[in-house]
């Protein structure tokens, strides 16, 4: 059976648009609410990235940090995250879900146990921010055995030789970090430049899907339409924070935002 992530890319390509990937933090601002957010955005998002909050994140900007600290403060545990994914999959079983987080959470849980739980709850892919190539080789192999995509990150600082090696070992989906930044930074390079770098990566192996993330908002998403997929994270986390501040319902507001994002790439 084809991984639902690949199905989602096929569907988007068929509709002649990039896949829309959203990132929300599990347990932000509560377990129930984060599940409801996933349910409400699933009709407009193609792939759902679910953040595993960690309290010493070395690559996240302030928006995602705020969401993560909020979720941790409200008591989220790794097992709760699997439960959220499982419950979501009962609601929409074909929607691909990717967990994104830091390696210590997996290491403490135990790699094998973690992957078993992923499989049982319906996780389709993993992004581990601080487990780069070649350190991730073994773990990526374990993921493959479970038919879970291990998604490699590529950055503007990744050298050409390294790009080739990483892509050679990679699974069908890779993630290109648009610029030198933590998540949610202001886009400091032009969309044109980002697409230029993206094309360089695609040329190495056109069959592998590459999504672009970091700094993508309602304003910039339309200019990056030629990519296989686009990830919006911090802008959504910011919307949750804003809603909470104004005592509005984050579920409705995030749902509206994701719909708007979708419209920009149609």
């Amino acid at each position: 059976m084809l991984n639902p992530i690949s199905v989602a890319f096929k569907k988007a390509k068929h509709e002649n648009r990039p896949a829309l990937l959203t990132y929300t933090v599990a347990g932000d601002s509560s377990k129930k609410q984060s599940l409801n957010i996933l349910k409400s955005i699933s009709k407009n998002a193609d792939i759902l990235e679910v953040g595993v909050p960690h309290n010493t994140p070395v690559a996240d900007g302030s928006q995602i940090q705020t969401s993560a600290y909020r979720a941790i403060k409200n008591g989220i545990k790794v097992n709760d995250i699997f439960k959220i994914v499982k419950d979501f999959k009962k609601f929409d079983k074909n929607k691909p879900v990717i967990l994104m987080g830091y390696y210590n959470m997996i290491f403490q849980y135990g790699e094998n146990k973690f992957l078993n739980k992923c499989k049982l709850s319906g996780v389709n892919g993993l992004i581990v921010v601080d487990l780069p190539w070649p350190e991730n080789k073994n773990f990526a192999k374990k993921c493959k055995k479970k038919s879970i995509y291990f998604i490699q990150l590529l950055s503007p600082t990744t050298t050409k030789i390294r790009l080739k090696k990483i892509i050679r070992d990679s699974h069908p989906m890779n993630y290109f970090i648009s610029m030198l930044s933590t998540t949610g930074g202001k886009l400091k390079v032009s969309p044109k430049e980002i697409i230029k770098n993206y094309i360089k990566i695609k040329k190495i192996n056109p069959k592998k899907k590459v999504v672009i993330g970091f700094g993508i908002t309602e304003k910039t998403i339309g200019k990056l339409k030629s990519a296989d997929g686009l990830v919006v994270g911090s802008a959504i986390c910011k919307e949750i924070s804003k809603s909470l501040k104004h005592r509005q319902n984050p579920v409705t507001n995030v749902s509206k935002l994701v719909k708007k994002l979708k419209n920009k790439i149609l």
Binding site: T56, Q108, D130, T158, L180
Partner: protein, 414 residues
């Protein structure tokens, strides 16, 4: 797990940067892979380059003012009535602490790589103060990340950083201490690694930073070895080296040159921060058996919960207030080359009182932890045992805390 003889410990890591196959490594975002590799290439080349070593030594001698003193604490020895207690007064170094060695080397490397800006983290403020001082000396722009709680409790060093022209960036996330400052500094580097050099303030972080820092602070033991031979004619038969351990930079540097001696002749004792006597929180992952985890790019023993969230620490000493510990010390612990224990806030304060009562020496709260254990153990040791405590920082930065906890006389009398 085995310690090899004849090879510097900083070079005993494997290809992926793991000591003993499991401590250290490079758990970093992809963006940092290239700048880290560049730094590795540069450092590996320069540490073999005679001209570079000469340049380093020139700055160490003329600017930092090495060697620092090695003195006998006669009155304290008499009072304790056991082993001979000596001190390596590393706080003599320019700026008042050992952090100046690492800061100087990082600035030299930054100059070589053509970077114009250098950033660093700081807890007690010494790493930041020294980096700002060195940056000024070498004409680099400097930015220091410091937890908001530490900014409040280490004001003298904050003032010094600003005076040196550095920007001090307060960090409000998490516990607002060193752990958050290091995270924020790394995040800034992720976003600016094309123009900016990063200095990690201790023997922590991705493997290359552990190595550079250990290489830099080893100046301390190089000097001590010469000084011991000059004083005793040879390395004493019973030598015990006490040092506080936070991240572990001063202790590693204090021990490095003695690594190959038998531990029966030359024992290393690392003293971690046990925190307030009545608190469950501490900053002593080695003493209290914390599990291995990943913090700031490296695998190490670290205070964490069962899920892998890093736990908050508590210590009177900002410089030791860190939930993790250098991979080098994890390695030295598991190979049993060094012994680790902890002293509480109260024990450190008592030791400070005792040392300042008997000697013209004013150790900061960090080395006061080492003095606490050294004094207590010395009582039971023979008179021919040579105990050396690294007094790696000066208490000037702590006067606010000392005044509050011990009263004005302990600040004034010095």
């Amino acid at each position: 797990m085995k310690l090899k003889k004849g090879i510097p410990v900083i070079d005993q890591g494997n290809k992926l940067g793991f000591w003993g196959g499991k401590f250290g490594g490079n758990f970093v975002p992809e963006t940092l892979k290239k700048p880290i590799e560049d730094l590795e290439v540069l450092f590996n080349k320069l540490k073999k380059d005679k001209k570079f070593i000469q340049e380093r030594d020139r700055y160490f001698k003329n600017w930092i003012g090495v060697p620092t003193r090695f003195i006998k604490l006669e009155n304290l020895t008499r009072h304790v009535g056991g082993a001979q207690i000596w001190s390596k007064v590393v706080s003599d170094a320019n700026g008042g602490a050992h952090k100046v060695y690492n800061a100087t080397v990082h600035c030299l490397l930054a100059k070589r790589s053509g970077k114009k800006v250098i950033i660093g983290d700081t807890g007690a403020g010494y790493a930041g103060k020294m980096l700002s001082m060195a940056a000024k000396k070498f004409g680099l722009k400097c930015k220091i990340f410091m937890g908001a709680k530490d900014i409040a409790r280490q004001q003298p060093n904050v003032k010094a950083m600003k005076k040196n022209g550095a920007e001090v960036v307060p960090v409000y996330s998490g516990s607002q201490t060193l752990v958050d400052a290091v995270s924020e500094c790394m995040r800034f580097w992720v976003a600016n690694c094309d123009t900016t050099a990063m200095c990690v303030g201790s023997t922590v972080g991705p493997a290359i930073f552990v190595r550079i820092c250990g290489w830099s602070t080893s100046q301390i033991s190089r000097e001590l070895k010469v000084q011991l031979i000059k004083e005793f004619g040879s390395i004493p038969k019973k030598l015990k080296l006490y040092n506080c351990v936070g991240g572990g930079s001063s202790s590693f540097g204090f021990w490095n040159e003695f690594m190959d001696y038998d531990k029966k002749q030359c024992e290393f004792i690392g003293v971690e921060a046990g925190g307030p006597a009545k608190s469950k929180k501490h900053a002593a992952p080695l003493t209290y058996g914390s599990k291995i985890g990943i913090l700031h790019g490296a695998a190490q023993y670290v205070n964490q919960n069962s899920d892998g969230q890093i736990e908050e620490t508590e210590s009177i000493s900002a410089g030791l207030d860190y939930p993790g510990i250098s991979p080098l010390h994890c390695f030295l612990k598991d190979t049993k080359r060094a012994r680790y224990t902890a002293a509480s806030d109260e024990q450190a304060l008592e030791a400070y009182k005792l040392v300042t009562k008997f000697e013209k020496l004013r150790p900061s709260l960090e080395p006061s932890h080492a003095f606490a254990v050294a004094i207590s153990e010395s009582k039971k040791l023979s008179k021919d045992t040579i105990v050396v405590v690294n007094s790696c920082g000066d208490a000037y930065k702590d006067r606010g805390i000392l005044e509050k906890r011990l009263g004005k006389k302990y600040v004034k009398s010095n």
